[in-house]
Symmetry: C2
Subunit: 344 residues, 2 copies
């Protein structure tokens, strides 16, 4: 049976779930695609594990402490990390799941570049490198014959890139609107349904573990803008930069909420891409008001959604998809199956 | 540039739009996939056209009369039709768009069998042959190395098979619910929103060209049941027959409508598949009542929708997709691009 070796860079919660799902699905891969899938390299920021015969899942599982944290450091070697380690590890696929800097795209950018230059396929979960230079990475992948798959970085379990490229293959897409940040939708939902101020709603979202300790990235629209930048470049083939997007976040007051409620309007933090007939793409992020008969008006809680307008097949709205680390890992492994389906 | 020859069996409105879209997208196929796509065989029930060099679109276009009907008969030859013509026409792909009998699956079943036996790929738009024997056709395609793609027969522009197989690849699906018959949804919509009786609502739908002259196939649930049969077999790999489904249609009275409206419930004609943990699949079609916070409650008019429940990526709801002949043709050509993407 043909071996497929997997490297995972970034071994936080999502990376750990990727390894777990790969182990759970080994038999599936063998039965469906006739391949023997093994994790042969795993690395965090300062050390990693490497075994060309495959690192046993039982071993990786122990990397998760009882409190949910990871203790990769304890058993790993400082030599087994960094882009040159990935370049030399002999994997067929790199799954990039580390933290990234949105300004430089690092360290993911170097990892992905190293892997793609070796002809590996790359599956990307962290957004930074893609926000920084999706077009460059896509060109490199294409030159080297590797796939570059990005579901994990573009709303994960909610299909976005797939929807445009696969489900609507052959159609021209003129517009794409998305509720891409669950936290922002949850906060707006609390403000509308429970009459909370933005501060009180954010605090409640934090208490429930939905909002980050610093919620500004989500509530100010930057998380949505990052996903929108990647989608614009991946779906429309343009060269949009994060700085090209007009971004505004949730600044809603309780007075506004009362007025909207009275008018039957529902606010959503939405990222929008519009393609003009001459091909120019306009992107913006901000609060948009929807009447109650619009599908987005019924996207409650921390749920995500996307609407795409196409010429020949009309409009599609997709709502849902889990947002936890296992679902994000599953979205990355959906990408992996797409690679297997084409390549084996 | 590699040639891809296309045969179209069934040259009604949808088959004609398939030919039109293929012509419109020739440059796209050349640029994206490096292939030269030509229609080399087209047949109706009693005659057809054949040209191994490719039948010009300008010629096929003339087959459409000013009144919208087709006049293939005028220029075609009686020798160029039937399963043996398709078997011998040397095409790479058969696109099946003819009318079919749901009891025998014919004539599509013979056309598809002939094509698959030659190692052609098959893209199916008409439901009959698939309802009759999807498992048999899938097994034959797999043996012969051809693809069997069925988007056009399973709600077309609304992704259904794709959603389960591609967007949720790797996940276990436990449940699938669908509003698959636009006509039925339109009639229920009129009954609820405009307080019409089922007879008056049906008449209005017929006046608008949404309902057929004989609307029973749609309103009694059989159109939904046919799509559900195909989906059950394609998605869950079972061997469900149309006769295994408990089917009931729209029998709603104005008294019921008033009661539901008062309770905030919305009726939808829904086809449902449920897979038990031991793998058994249960299928049923009937009116289901949804509370106003369920996404299906907001699927208005002749719109279609699907909800799929998965283990690792959660629930997805998709709403929309045009229902006209061009959109159905576009769904079939989406399938064609999926074949090209894997095969070239």
């Amino acid at each position: 049976m043909k071996r497929w070796n997997i490297a995972i860079s970034g071994f936080g919660n999502v990376g750990w779930h990727v390894a777990q799902l790969l182990a759970e699905r080994r038999v599936r891969y063998a039965n469906l695609y006739g391949v023997d899938v093994r994790v042969t390299a795993v690395c965090g920021s300062d050390r990693g594990l490497y075994d060309p015969a495959g690192i046993e899942w039982e071993y990786l599982r122990e990397c998760r402490k009882a409190n949910g944290g990871l203790k990769l450091a304890r058993m790993a070697d400082a030599a087994f990390t960094g882009p040159s380690f990935i370049a030399d590890c002999g994997a067929d696929v790199l799954i990039e799941a580390g933290p990234t800097d949105f300004h430089t795209g690092e360290p993911a950018l170097s990892y992905l570049t190293a892997a793609l230059k070796q002809g590996m396929h790359a599956i990307v979960i962290s957004k930074g490198a893609l926000v920084h230079d999706y077009p460059g990475l896509a060109a490199l992948a294409s030159q080297q014959g590797g796939a570059l798959k990005i579901s994990g970085a573009t709303a994960a379990a909610l299909p976005t890139v797939d929807l445009c490229r696969y489900n609507l293959a052959g159609c021209e897409i003129s517009e794409l609107n998305g509720i891409f940040t669950g936290t922002a939708n949850f906060v707006l939902h609390l403000m509308m349904e429970h009459n909370l101020s933005i501060a009180a709603a954010t605090e409640e979202a934090q208490r429930l573990g939905i909002a980050e300790a610093d919620p500004r990235f989500d509530l100010d629209g930057w998380d949505t803008a990052c996903k929108l930048t990647i989608l614009a470049n991946a779906v429309f083939g343009c060269r949009l930069k994060l700085s090209d997007i007009a971004v505004s976040g949730i600044t809603t007051s309780t007075v506004e909420v009362a007025t909207w409620r009275q008018k039957g309007l529902v606010p959503r933090l939405v990222g929008s891409l519009t393609r003009a007939s001459h091909g120019d793409v306009t992107a913006k992020v901000g609060c948009t008001l929807y009447p109650s008969d619009h599908p987005f008006a019924h996207v409650k809680g921390a749920t995500k959604a996307i609407q795409v307008k196409s010429d020949d097949m009309g409009d599609l709205v997709v709502i849902g998809g889990k947002s936890d680390p296992r679902a994000t890992a599953a979205a990355a492994l959906k990408d992996f199956e797409h690679i297997l389906a084409r390549m084996v």
